[in-house]
Amino acid sequence: MPESPNALKSTVNNDLSTLTLAEARAAVVSGTTSATALAERYYERIAAVDPEINSYLALTKDRALAQAASVDAAVKSGAPLGPLAGVPIGIKDVLTLKGAPATAASKILNGYHPPYDATAVAKLEAAGAVLLGKLNCDEFAMGGSNENSAYGPVHNPRSLDRVPGGSSGGSAAAVAAGLCAASLGTDTGGSIRQPAAFCGVVGVLPTYGRVSRYGLIAFASSLDRIGPFAHSVADAATLLEVLAGTDTMDSTSSAQPVGSYSADLAKPVAGLRIGVPEEYFGEGLDPEIRAAIEKSLDDLRAAGCSIQKVSLPHTSYAVPTYYVLATAEASSNLSRMDGVRFGHRSAEANTLANMYRKSRDEAFGPEVKRRILLGTYVLSAGYYDAYYRKAQQVRTLLTRDFLTVFNDVDAIVCPVTPTPAWKLGEKTEDPIQMYLEDIYSVAASLAGICGMSVPCGTTKDGLPIGVQVLGKHFDESTMLRVGAAIEAAQVK
């Protein structure tokens, strides 16, 4: 496959750039290396390489090395080892790690050190993971290019002059550059799947409610989800098995039984019915991406799947629906950023109202302000029915589209993005152009179904291409199997 001339050319501990979670765990468990030595090697690589990528906002070295030491002690004493024993993992900086900075890539949370761990983070650590640090993203996860971070953009390791995608750009780039073996991101309208596609790694969006969000700094609560980035579908399945499940600290987490995602990967895909939505292959789709998706469909056909055309007729309304609902929820969620209990407080303020306003104006970036204003507008008196309620109704139609199609097929395969990663700065002036890039990702977000991006080739310029697999609510198993079949055909 072609490689971009601008791809990261690293030298320090270069073997880590492709080290999978499974390989990392096996090396620690077998004693080939220790969890401590492995973590130290990742930190060496981060020190050498991350100045070019800017994926980490904070390193949690003390905590990581303490955890690594306890994994090493367990290996030595023959104690039981978790499914992530010694695996170095990075965490998107919208999730809390007790005592570590949590910025959401915003200046308004400057100085905030949350006093508790997010459930997803605690589960990873309980499974033996070594948490290396907090990863850069768009401010409050709002953006599709990682250029909205108050701490500077992330560079795509496959082509350093290009965006890594967003909002979980740091999470995707860190895995792609070998700065962690896997990572956590969040996806509200495509923020895991799109950066995974742009950086050439696997990214999984679990079903809404599948993973507890306790400890996630909320953007749009009816849409926000936490999911893994990894080098392989099997790694992502291992992570999802650890992360999934109900949580008394999150009433929106689901009690639906958790699947045996890893074990199910061994089941053949022959006989599965794959739907191909015609609305996802229209005007605006890059021809190289179209060709790569069609190649993946051929691969699935060769593996014994039946491929059929399906229709999701309301697809073109997904972007406007999303930008009403997500901004409305954001305007409400972000009202707590007011300088009273945590984070930035304006030094200029002399009255309470003044303190709220100045603190928020000084510390929020332009995209966050834009979305708060839009969300406040669509909820304001006289516009609620016309915009907010209308969008909620269209959300029902978009969800019905998927439920109808899933009567006839087991999974859907389509593009993640209309284009490959664009150049840094290329789309920052026009918010609409940026929002329209979400055209293939937001409908699944609104419908709450699970989805993933799997690498399926590169453009002639060496930019990664991802293929999207969408599954039924709580049927991550089938989705992951289809993803693994596509992945297996790439390796051949």
């Binding site: 508790y116 629906t321 009255t351 109202a353 304001s380 969008a391 929002y435």
Partner: protein
Amino acid sequence: MSNQNSAVSLEDVRHVADLANLELTAEELPRMAHDLNAILGHIAQLSELDTSQVEPMAQVAEALGIAPATAGETLRPDVVKPSVDRAAVMSQAPESDGRFFKVPKVIER
């Protein structure tokens, strides 16, 4: 969709910013008005759809009929449990006396 064709004025943006507790600068105001008009213009296409018979959807579990019940036996028992340490929470405040969050004076005497 009422008002969809009426452009958002600078005054409208100022009003919404006021509702949102945002203080926009003189440079930000026209830029935001321009962007809001462009985005709302794009959103206006939702009015093409007849949704008069469609239920609004607030979240997914509801639409699937798997939303947890909010009353009766599915609720957890109401017992006192330890919570996050108060001192750890208060230590994060920009200004605190250890028990309360301090803010500029609200009531003038």
